[in-house]
């Protein structure tokens, strides 16, 4: 009796969320996968014919009659992955020491700093990125400051380069790396560090043998949270990369909004999803294993 009532309550609690996710998350996802195998309509939309050339264009079996294979798509894909990976590295290098520093502060300051880290979310990303345009452009604050200090004699071209995109991406993604890292570093048991040192481990040994393994879940979570949005991001390269740094996100955006080739955009999106899905499975298996070991 009791368990039946429990079950009914569980169903009642789970149904709304399940329905919502089923309709508004899985629905569009399924639609996208289906569209990626359909023929593009002449003025957008789709023709309901099976059509695998969308993938052929990306991966290389398009014959050139209707669609043409172009290695540039794979190149853009690889570049996006490289930028996203670089971004993970940059944010990790910034946030790891920062999280350590914050975890050492008094409780009051810790709360304050975590609040400060989340503060940028209150302002639109586009507005924040335009600030970076103002900073990085040839007549921007950065160049004014460097010229004023006499460090350079003429403005440096930083905006509309990969560097600018990386700066913007790192800026946008910092909180996503910081928060999970901070969560795992704050939980770190300092007596483990003391025990390691007590047993004769030099500081670098303590770091690699105790601190790093103990904070690995945080690093992995931060890396996934930064890598995925970085890979698909199109606003940062749009505003700070100009036409020079095209990322896979921009390509998808163009296919849907400008070229109005929905099936091809969908095929590109499915490719991104596959890569991310693989990464997440790897991540979960890795974390799952270390959780089991715990």
């Amino acid at each position: 009796m009791e368990s039946k009532r429990e079950n009914r309550r569980l169903i009642a609690l789970l149904t709304p969320g399940t329905l919502f996710l089923g309709i508004f998350f899985l629905g569009p996802l399924g639609m996208m996968i289906v569209f990626s195998f359909l023929e593009p309509g002449l003025y957008g939309g789709v023709e309901w014919n099976f059509y695998h050339w969308n993938y052929g264009r990306i991966l290389g079996w398009a014959d050139g009659e209707w669609e043409e294979f172009d290695p540039v798509y794979v190149e853009i894909f690889l570049r996006s992955a490289r930028l996203a990976f670089t971004n993970v590295t940059i944010t990790l290098l910034i946030c790891y020491p920062a999280a350590f520093w914050v975890s050492g502060l008094s409780a009051r300051w810790r709360t304050f700093v975590v609040f400060i880290v989340t503060l940028p979310f209150f302002v639109s990303m586009v507005v924040r990125l335009f600030c970076w345009v103002l900073i990085l452009r040839p007549s921007g604050f950065l160049n004014i400051a460097l010229l004023g200090l006499g460090l350079i004699s003429e403005p440096i071209d930083i905006i509309y380069t990969e560097t600018a995109v990386l700066i913007g991406m790192a800026y946008i993604m910092l909180p996503f790396m910081f928060l999970p890292l901070y969560a795992s570093i704050e939980k770190l048991d300092y007596s483990l560090i003391e025990a390691s040192s007590d047993l004769g481990a030099k500081p670098y040994q303590t770091f690699f043998r105790v601190i790093l393994p103990a904070t690995l879940p945080g690093i992995a979570a931060g890396a996934v949270l930064v890598f995925i949005p970085s890979l698909g991001n199109f606003i940062v390269p749009d505003l700070l990369g100009g036409a020079k740094v095209l990322m896979i996100g921009n390509l998808v955006e163009q296919q849907f909004l400008s070229a109005r080739n929905w099936p091809f955009g969908a095929a590109l999106s499915v490719m991104i999803m596959l890569v991310m899905f693989t990464l997440i499975v790897l991540y979960l298996r890795r974390i799952g294993r270390s959780e089991l070991a715990r």
Binding site: E194, A195, D198, L199
Partner: protein, 373 residues
């Protein structure tokens, strides 16, 4: 050149350590502590929480720097020497086992980081695990062990580097009573077998008395008394030690003389005979331990002191009974008589008046010093 080796494994000189208090001001954790620890001894730092015992231990292991004073380990000054360079190892209060490493990995950690080759490492890990009775547990993870087993792993891990001094920071406090008592015996045996010095921190006086060769009683950052468990129990030098170690009734008063025999007159006028020794006029405290009290014989002479009490409650304790009684002024005293006294006491029921006697030469008298200790 002066020979550097010392008969002491550790020496602490005038150690001072202060911490900022959360509400402002400073907390003096160590207030000029000087201590010498001999080789191959089981030494316990005993005191209430906040007495500085853990701070002293951490200063020796290197996790706290002293504000002033110095520490020598095996004759070597260790000021500014990092923990990983000190020839001491610690068993932590919460064990601090590495959760991601197997039991063998934990135990062998100290050998691994100091570059001991694999073969020797495995042999010594095996030996250490056998010594603590955990052979065959090497492949498990720490969280797959019980609290007592984790405790043993922590112990094996700490002794594998053959430290000159093993520091133990309240390692038994998380264990249940039975396990704690068997671990006390095991620790004592282990210390005896290894022949290295154990410096053990606890707030549990029973634990300290059971295991130690020497007990250092700390209070508010100062050493109250250093001595063997017997000395601390029978000859406490301060009221604090008398109260902290063992049970007993304390009577505060002034020493006066009647018929050549000194007596202690308590502040509320009770007259208690004491042994010869303290000078007349001194303010003093008399400590009467429960086992020093017995039912008074009919014709007691003046070699005994008498307490007129009312029995409140008796408690069965196995081999003995404990009788909690009340003095006319409301103060309670406990008696744990043995043999005939116990038999006589059993006929007394709660609420009855009893005359308790003690040999005037047995209880300890502490003379008050000028600083009011």
């Amino acid at each position: 050149m002066i020979e550097k080796t010392s008969e002491f494994i550790a020496e602490v000189k005038q150690a001072v350590k202060q911490f900022p208090a959360p509400e402002g001001g400073v907390i003096t954790a160590l207030d000029g502590i000087s201590l010498e620890i001999q080789q191959s001894q089981f030494v316990t730092l005993l005191g209430p929480s906040g007495c500085g015992k853990t701070t002293l231990l951490r200063a020796i292991s290197g996790f706290e720097d002293l504000d002033s004073g110095e520490i020598r380990i095996a004759g070597e000054l260790v000021t500014g020497v990092a923990p990983y360079r000190r020839p001491v190892n610690t068993v932590f209060q919460n064990y601090a086992l590495f959760p991601h490493i197997s039991v063998s990995g934990n135990v062998g950690y100290g050998l691994e980081v100091t570059g001991v080759p694999r073969g020797e490492r495995e042999r010594r890990v095996g030996e250490a695990l056998e010594r603590v009775g955990l052979s065959g547990f090497g492949l498990r993870k720490p969280n797959q062990l019980s609290g007592g087993q984790q405790q043993r792993v922590a112990l094996a891990r700490a002794i594998i580097n053959q430290p000159k001094l093993l520091l133990l920071d309240e390692p038994l406090s998380a264990l249940d009573r039975n396990l704690r008592q068997s671990m006390q015996i095991e620790l004592k045996n282990l210390q005896h077998d290894l022949g290295i010095c154990f410096l053990f921190v606890t707030h549990d006086q029973e634990e300290a008395l059971t295991m130690s060769d020497q007990v250092v009683v700390l209070n508010q950052g100062r050493i109250e008394q250093i001595g063997s468990p017997e000395a601390l129990y029978h000859q406490p030098t301060s009221r604090f030690v008398a109260e902290f170690i063992g049970d007993g009734a304390l009577f505060k008063g002034t020493i006066t003389n009647t018929f050549e025999n000194p007596i202690l007159v308590t502040d509320d006028g009770q007259e208690l005979p004491v042994g010869v020794g303290p000078s007349v006029g001194a303010s003093a405290t008399l400590i009467i331990r429960p086992e020093q009290l017995d039912i008074a014989k009919e014709n007691a002479d003046d070699s005994v002191g008498i307490l007129d009490v009312v029995l409140e409650q008796s408690f069965f304790q196995g081999a003995t009974n404990k009788y909690v009684c009340q003095l006319p002024n409301g103060v309670s005293v406990s008696a744990v008589p043995t043999g005939a006294g116990n038999a006589a006491f059993r006929r007394v029921s709660p609420g009855d008046r009893v005359r308790l006697a003690y040999d005037r030469n047995e209880p300890r008298v502490i003379i008050q010093t000028a600083d009011g200790k």
